[in-house]
């Protein structure tokens, strides 16, 4: 019986964790399988949750969020027969029973950044991150490069919600930040902030501007206002891990990018009218070029800074 541990923010954050949940549900529906799950409510629970599932013989144990990487690293040594999966995290030496999954968020963000720049009339777009960590800067940096690729004169206003995990789940603050950016002229706002993004999208809808969702397809939250969503197929990663089940092997880091459809942008009936054919064509062309290596999107991690955006 596999298990999933959702990070702070909870499985219904409409974003990152919910994507994991969707993937798990899909697996359950398709296979009729069952899985254990828990939503963390504090920092200090991480290890206990891992051990609790490991003790019960759960396998594999899937964890979401970079904060789980360190506890997974610790606990995995005590349970060599259990395979652990971590999404988004980074460990210097990956144990043989740990599978790490990462995404090329910067390339996905690049594409939605292009769309934002094409949609913007004011030439100013916004980015609202959750917790101020390299991962989120990675999102923002890709987005900014996409914006600049379309409109080199565009202004990008970037804000982070906070420095602690509560920043993933603070829609009030998200809403206020969005309102501030909108007041500064932003007419497209990209939220890479987990549950906080709900507040961002809400504020954008209230103020009549466009927003861009993240991780999961969030287009349906405010049809006509959510321009698109930067898909990060956590659901696919979870689904694949569950499907592999006992056969899952660790010891390596798997990076999912545009080529693997690990990241992308969401199109559906809710935003069909918002995205013109030219926009789509431009984005698709860029996507192909990124996959082929013709366009290189700089990762924030490369030297902990972004060429086109100051955080």
């Amino acid at each position: 019986e596999p298990a999933i541990i959702y990070d702070l923010g909870g499985k219904f954050d409409k974003s990152f964790n919910e994507a994991a949940y969707t993937g798990a549900q899909r697996w359950a529906n398709e296979t009729g399988g069952k899985y254990l799950e828990i939503e963390l409510s504090s920092e200090a629970q991480r290890e206990q949750a891992l051990r609790r599932f490991a003790e019960r013989g759960a396998n594999p144990i899937i964890t979401t969020g970079f904060a789980m990487a360190d506890p997974v690293n610790e606990v995995s040594a005590d349970y060599p027969d259990t395979t652990f999966v971590n999404i988004d995290g980074w460990i210097p030496e990956i144990p043989s029973n740990v599978a790490m999954i990462a995404f090329e968020e910067h390339t996905g963000s690049y594409l939605v950044g292009m769309m934002a720049a094409m949609k913007s009339e004011s030439g100013t777009v916004g980015f609202i991150g959750g917790m101020d960590v390299p991962l989120i800067r990675h999102f923002g940096c890709g987005y900014a490069q996409g914006v600049k690729a379309v409109n080199p004169d565009a202004t990008i206003i970037a804000n982070m919600t906070g420095t602690t995990p509560t920043a993933w789940n603070d829609p009030v603050k998200g809403g206020e930040l969005a309102k501030a950016q909108i007041a500064q002229g932003a007419d497209v706002v990209y939220a890479a902030a987990g549950g906080t993004g709900v507040g961002v999208l809400q504020a954008a809808a209230d103020e009549g501007v466009y927003s861009i969702g993240v991780d999961k397809n969030q287009n349906h939250l405010h049809p006509g206002s959510v321009l698109t969503s930067m898909l990060k197929r956590v659901d696919v990663a979870v689904y694949d891990s569950l499907k592999a089940g006992d056969a899952l092997t660790g010891g390596s880091m798997q990076v999912l990018g545009l080529a693997e459809d690990g990241v992308g942008y969401a199109m559906d009936e809710n935003n069909a009218s918002l995205v013109s054919d030219e926009m789509k064509a431009a984005v698709e062309a860029a996507k192909a070029k990124i996959i082929s290596g013709e366009i290189e999107v700089t990762a924030y991690y490369t030297n902990d800074s972004c060429p086109v955006l100051d955080f």
């Binding site: 409510s41 504090s42 200090a44 051990r51 904060a67 602690t164 995990p165």
Partner: protein, 362 residues
């Protein structure tokens, strides 16, 4: 007012109050469509059904014993220290700084230094509210609440801007060197054949907590200082008459209180997490209030109540693993226990006293 025999005051009233709290919690469980019997079974088996469960129960109990002692020492001086949360947070900072400062050769060397640092940081965080209470009459309840928030902000700042290793994502310090890792019950009690307490965080700090109980008991009931603290707590004018300085006692009682709260950090920071994380205290400072109240401010009572709350927290965590009762139910139970044992004490006491007087008179 009608008088109650002491045993009724010490045992019967808390017992009845806890039972009322549990009964109402049971109704809540029924209310959300779950089976309270199953819930109780799950909690018992999860918290006490294995050495693993015990390992967590005792781990939490250790935290609560420290904060419960902290609250009760202040209470003996009639000071309501609501700031255990912040003091324990700061204690964590002290412990972390010590653990990260040098590459400790052995935990036996690191532990005493860490204990002192935790206690000092906790005491320092209690010192300002204590001083303001003693010298300027600022209500210590409000100032300690404010200091909880200031502590959270301070810790946040230190972790994010100073202790977080470069490139790390989450705001936590680097792992402590292995020379600071405290022996866990698993290390101490497992034999070659059987692993006991596997992975459970309960560690040698548990015994330190018990020793702290003994020391607090000696302090309060066997030393001059404790005598003065209790005298001051019972009657300030009498204390002044006897030549006991209110300022001195207020400061000392709060420093000891803050120090005890700070010492909790050797359990959760040094013993369990082995690094400093945000919000490492997880409400233990507040639960300490309930523990002290229920334990009637006596170390033995604090141990029992600390154990009860340890059981509730661990059992509650189990609920979430195996049933669909949310973990937050435990917060509700805790709230009800605090409400009935603390604030609604008289609701039980008055009818009970009537009952006793009637029996006595008949």
């Amino acid at each position: 007012m009608d008088r109650l025999p002491q045993w009724a005051d010490v045992f019967l009233i808390p017992l009845i109050s806890v039972l009322i709290a549990f009964a109402i919690s049971g109704l809540v469980i029924v209310g959300i469509g779950e089976d309270p019997v199953v819930a109780v079974q799950t909690m018992i088996s999860g918290a006490l059904g294995s050495t693993y469960g015990w390992g967590y129960t005792l781990y939490y109990a250790t935290n609560f014993i420290f904060t419960g002692l902290a609250v009760s020492v202040a209470f003996h001086a009639r000071l309501f220290n609501i700031g255990g949360e912040g003091q324990a947070l700061l204690g964590g900072l002290g412990v972390a700084l010590v653990c990260l400062a040098v590459d400790w050769p052995h935990w036996l060397v690191a532990l005493p230094v860490a204990m002192i640092a935790g206690a000092l940081f906790g005491a320092a965080w209690a010192a300002v509210p204590a001083y303001l209470q003693a010298k300027r009459g600022s209500h210590i309840v409000i100032t300690t609440i404010m200091f909880n928030f200031i502590a959270a902000a301070l810790l946040n700042y230190v972790l994010v801007n100073h202790l977080k290793p470069p490139r790390a994502q989450d705001p936590s310090s680097a792992r402590f060197p292995s020379g600071t890792n405290l022996p866990t019950f698993q290390d101490m009690f497992s034999t070659a054949e059987t692993t006991l307490f596997r992975g459970a965080p309960v560690n040698i700090t548990f015994f330190i907590a018990l020793i702290a109980c003994l020391l607090v008991w000696l302090l309060i009931w066997r030393t001059k200082l404790g005598y003065q603290i209790r005298s001051y707590g019972q009657s300030e004018p009498a204390a002044i008459y006897a030549g006991i300085s209110p300022v001195r006692i207020t400061m000392i009682a709060m420093l000891i209180s803050g120090g005890l709260a700070g010492m909790m950090a050797i359990n959760n920071v040094m013993g369990e997490a082995e690094k400093l994380v945000l919000n490492a205290v997880e409400g233990a400072g507040f639960i300490g209030i309930a523990v002290a109240l229920m334990g009637r401010n006596h170390p033995v009572g604090v141990i029992l109540a600390g154990f009860l709350f340890g059981f509730l927290v661990q059992g509650g965590a189990e609920l979430q693993f195996t049933t669909s009762i949310p973990r937050d139910l435990i917060v509700v139970i805790q709230a009800l226990v605090i409400l009935f044992t603390g604030a609604l004490d008289n609701m039980v006491r008055i009818p009970l006293a009537k009952l006793f007087t009637r029996k006595g008179g008949a």
